[in-house]
């Protein structure tokens, strides 16, 4: 079993098996025969006109799959949706990426795609908020905005001749600090209306990037552009280089313990869900966190075998309830 490198006792194994079988039974009613492997023929009604999409190719007049996955039909389009592949970008996706390189007038980001994505200097809002033409001096000061290894949140703009382009034009996009970055398989992140979640009761930002990078961190107030002048003197002082601070003063700026506890719980919940391969949405994550709290578990025990089995059982229950409610 992928990723399940935990020492499970015999009873735990049995419980886990039972929960997974329940999940299998739920889904097999829906679309059991739609999964294909490489070089499988896809059953198609050749009389209808259809379009061959991703993951398909033609061989001897038959439509054949080139990847392992599930066959999806949307109107006339037939394509194979892969499961464990790299991220497939779509315009408008919200993603989280890490800066690899600072190049002339652009930053190169790693977003778990087959190439590095490009964020142009002209695609971000300048720190002072003024809309103006980027000068040569701006180009020289690119590192003061984003450096190598910085984590950013951005939106996919589209494919250009030299690769994938991103944009970060709104105030909520930009550098992410004071938190941790998790990497989960992209196929378990569902595309929804909201990827940017502010959990008020914990004071935590949760960004579920469509590319599988998830950011869990302290909440940062997005400043209104109109009030930029008032904030300017404050922001100048906070821009002092962190390394120049002594150890004591650095300690004062650490995240408070309460918030940190919540960040770790949410991060562990997402880790457990990705280990089991369950889909990750904000509701599921909150449920897992509440489950952990109700069981009075230590935060790091959430990564242990007992909690893993509990999450699987809970998920099986939740989905069967959803199914009965829907019917």
């Amino acid at each position: 079993m992928r990723g399940l490198q935990l020492p499970l006792t015999q009873t735990q194994k049995v419980r886990l098996q039972r929960a997974l079988e329940k999940l299998e039974a739920l889904l097999s009613k829906a679309n059991s025969n739609a999964s294909v492997t490489v070089a499988d023929t896809i059953p198609v009604n050749y009389d209808d006109a259809f379009l061959k999409g991703h993951g398909t190719t033609e061989h001897n007049g038959e439509v054949v799959a080139t990847v392992c996955g599930v066959v999806e039909r949307v109107n006339k389009l037939i394509y194979v949706r892969t499961l464990r592949a790299r991220y497939k970008p779509e315009v408008g996706d919200i993603i989280v990426g890490r800066v690899i390189e600072v190049a002339p007038k652009r930053w190169r980001l790693d977003i778990n795609y087959s190439q590095d994505a490009v964020l142009m200097l002209s695609s971000i809002n300048m720190p002072d908020g003024i809309q103006r033409r980027r000068t040569a001096e701006d180009e020289l000061n690119m590192r003061s905005i984003f450096e190598e290894n910085d984590v950013l949140c951005a939106e996919v703009r589209g494919f250009q001749h030299d690769g994938l382009h991103l944009q970060a034009r709104s105030q909520k996009y930009g550098k992410l600090q004071r938190g941790q970055l998790l990497s989960i398989p992209p196929y378990i992140v569902k595309r929804q209306k909201q990827h940017w979640h502010y959990l008020e009761e914990y004071g935590i930002d949760l960004i579920l990037g469509c590319n599988g990078f998830v950011w869990v961190g302290e909440h940062v107030e997005t400043k209104d552009e109109m009030l930029v002048d008032q904030d300017k003197p404050e922001s100048q002082t906070s821009k002092t280089n962190d390394y120049s601070m002594s150890l004591e003063s650095r300690e004062h700026t650490y995240t408070p313990l309460e918030t940190r506890q919540n960040i770790c719980r949410i991060a562990n919940a997402i880790r457990v869900l990705s280990m089991l391969g369950f889909i990750v949405t904000i509701e599921v994550v909150m449920e897992v966190v509440n489950l952990g709290v109700s069981q009075n578990m230590d935060t790091h025990e959430m990564l242990g075998s007992e909690f893993c089995v509990l999450v699987a059982e809970r998920e099986a229950e939740r989905r069967s309830q959803k199914r009965t409610r829907g019917n």
Partner: protein, 241 residues
């Protein structure tokens, strides 16, 4: 030495046309995009695929297709006598090249221009047929990584000892000095991508031996297809909707 007893049994008790026990597991290395462990009897191999990702060495970037790289290494403890150098010796370089060329033939590289696919194969236990086990493991790992392929590549070896064609030689039979034919095929497209042989064999017997190896490859292809479809189903129902 007698490799095939008069009753028709080989040294390890198999029949001449019988293959060793196959076992495969997907998803062993969590960090890799795709990974698999493939066992043929006592031969055990891990393959890990990283990619498609950005090309690390700009000068090697290909503007219209993906760059496929492969490295084969044997663990020190894999063979009966301990090996001194796990990688970099000539045999490893040759096998790396062979695996790369075989996999490149089946990957649809045009769909991923300017990217790089790395295939790393590590032999944990060697008991004959390592080349075939490596190719089978690499196929599984590539399918696990979701890289588009024309077809699987499966590979099997066959030999000719004591006037009998034998399928899937183990180490003892391999070192007997008889011919060893390794075949890699694309089962659905019915094409041969890899054919290697050492020692000498009359042409008509060669046809028989090669046919036997192709049959073995087809049997492995059925097994691999089963493993992959089981894996896909599992991932799908766990993910839910």
């Amino acid at each position: 030495m007698e490799y095939v007893s008069p009753e028709g049994l080989r040294i390890d008790g198999r029949r001449p046309m019988e293959m060793r026990k196959l076992q495969a597991e997907i998803g062993v290395v969590a960090k890799a995009d795709g990974s698999a462990v493939f066992e043929m009897g006592n031969t055990k191999v891990i393959a890990a695929v990283y990619g498609p990702r950005e090309v690390q060495n700009r000068s090697q970037q290909l503007s219209d297709q993906a760059l496929v790289r492969c490295e084969y290494s044997m663990a020190n403890f894999s063979t009966g006598d301990r090996m001194r150098k796990p990688k970099g010796d000539r045999r490893s370089t040759e096998i790396s090249l062979v695996i790369r060329q075989t996999m490149e033939a089946c990957i649809l590289t045009q769909l991923m221009p300017r990217s790089q696919i790395d295939i790393y194969v590590q032999v944990l236990q060697a008991d004959g047929g390592t080349r075939s086990a490596c190719i089978n493991a690499a196929t599984l790992a590539l399918a696990d990584a979701g890289i588009p392929m024309r077809d699987f590549v499966t590979s099997c070896s066959a030999g000719y000892l004591n006037s009998t064609p034998l399928l899937d030689l183990n180490y003892v039979e391999d070192s007997a000095g008889g011919p060893d034919v390794t075949v890699g095929i694309l089962p659905k497209l019915d094409k041969v991508t890899l054919l290697q042989m050492d020692a000498k064999l009359p042409l008509d017997i060669f046809e028989n031996v090669m046919q036997l190896a192709v049959e073995g490859c087809k049997a492995i292809a059925d097994y691999i297809r089963e493993v992959l479809s089981e894996n896909t189903k599992q991932l799908e129902y766990r993910r839910g909707l």
